[in-house]
């Protein structure tokens, strides 16, 4: 576990490169989320929808961006999380996720940081978002 984060505006979170998305992960995410939309599981269904093959669930990409904040959960939590989907994530894509501090605000019992975050594959930004992470005072 990391120490209490003490970010400054403009600071970047270290980019993480994740293992390539596998079919098995999509099957696991379908089971864990209840989203069995066949475009994530069956190539024929994806092709019928005009896609080259199965694509990852958008919410899996969002959750992947959330991994950036997991090391700090001892000290606070993700208070808000927004994301816009701008590209497809295919099987085999190794997503890179990262972010940057855009603001900080002191409240009575905590510090609220805001971040711009992204998930990119080799060709495009698959999702871009904004995270509010609340750090409790000691």
């Amino acid at each position: 576990m990391n120490g209490t984060p003490n970010w400054s505006v403009g600071e970047r979170l270290e980019e993480r490169v994740l293992p390539p998305i596998s079919r098995l992960q999509l099957i696991k995410y379908a089971g864990a989320s209840g989203d069995y939309n066949p475009i994530h599981l069956v190539d024929e269904a994806a092709e019928e929808a005009g896609l080259p093959g199965v694509i990852a669930h958008g919410m899996l990409t969002v959750a992947t961006m959330g991994l950036l904040f997991s090391p700090y959960l001892e000290h606070g939590y993700v208070k808000s999380f927004g994301s816009r989907f701008s590209g497809m994530v295919n099987v085999g894509d190794a997503l890179r996720v990262g972010g940057r501090v855009t603001g900080m605000e002191t409240t009575e019992e905590a510090m609220l940081y805001t971040f711009d975050v992204y998930a990119r594959n080799d060709t495009e930004t698959a999702a871009a978002g904004v995270v509010g992470f609340l750090v409790y005072g000691e």
Binding site: L18, P19, K28, Y29, S80, F81, F85
Partner: protein
């Protein structure tokens, strides 16, 4: 505008239990090994004293149905997602969930007329206190619109 007559429509609140096994499976699926999601002993030692839930987990709850609203089973595209918490959510909690169709509007896109549906989903504790508010934008392509309007 798609489903215009349902804008403002709400589902009845449904009770969801934040199950430990469901959270463990979800944490595994998103490849987040954080012990605060799965390890009771680690959670007990933490400031929270109990197991946390990954931030996007509430998307898996059952929010019920808006009376009469039948969405197509395929072809809808998730355009945007947003969740905002009043406080952390914990394993073992009971959450009353409901949804509302907030808005519906059309926009001309490069590949035809796109429909946008804006949903609000909320979770409350049994005493009626809001825990989280979720907003999703779902995009309906022209091809799917023809199916809906047929």
């Amino acid at each position: 505008m798609l489903y215009g007559e349902f804008v403002g429509g709400r589902s009845k609140p449904l009770l969801n239990l934040v199950e430990r096994g469901a959270v463990r499976k979800f944490a595994e699926a998103i490849a987040d090994p954080n012990p605060l999601y799965v390890d009771e002993a680690a959670a007990k030692r933490s400031r929270y004293g109990r197991l946390l839930v990954p931030p996007t987990f509430p998307r898996t709850f059952d929010y019920g149905h808006i009376e009469g609203l039948k969405l197509p089973s395929a072809g809808m595209i998730h355009g945007e997602f947003h969740i905002s918490y009043e406080r952390p959510l914990f394993v073992g909690e009971e959450v009353f969930c409901r949804m509302r169709l907030e808005d519906s509007y059309d926009k001309q896109g490069r590949k035809g007329l796109l429909g946008f549906l804006v949903f609000e989903r909320t979770g409350e504790s049994p005493d009626g206190a809001r825990i989280f508010t979720m907003n999703d934008v779902v995009v309906v392509t022209e091809v799917v619109r023809r199916v809906i309007e047929a």
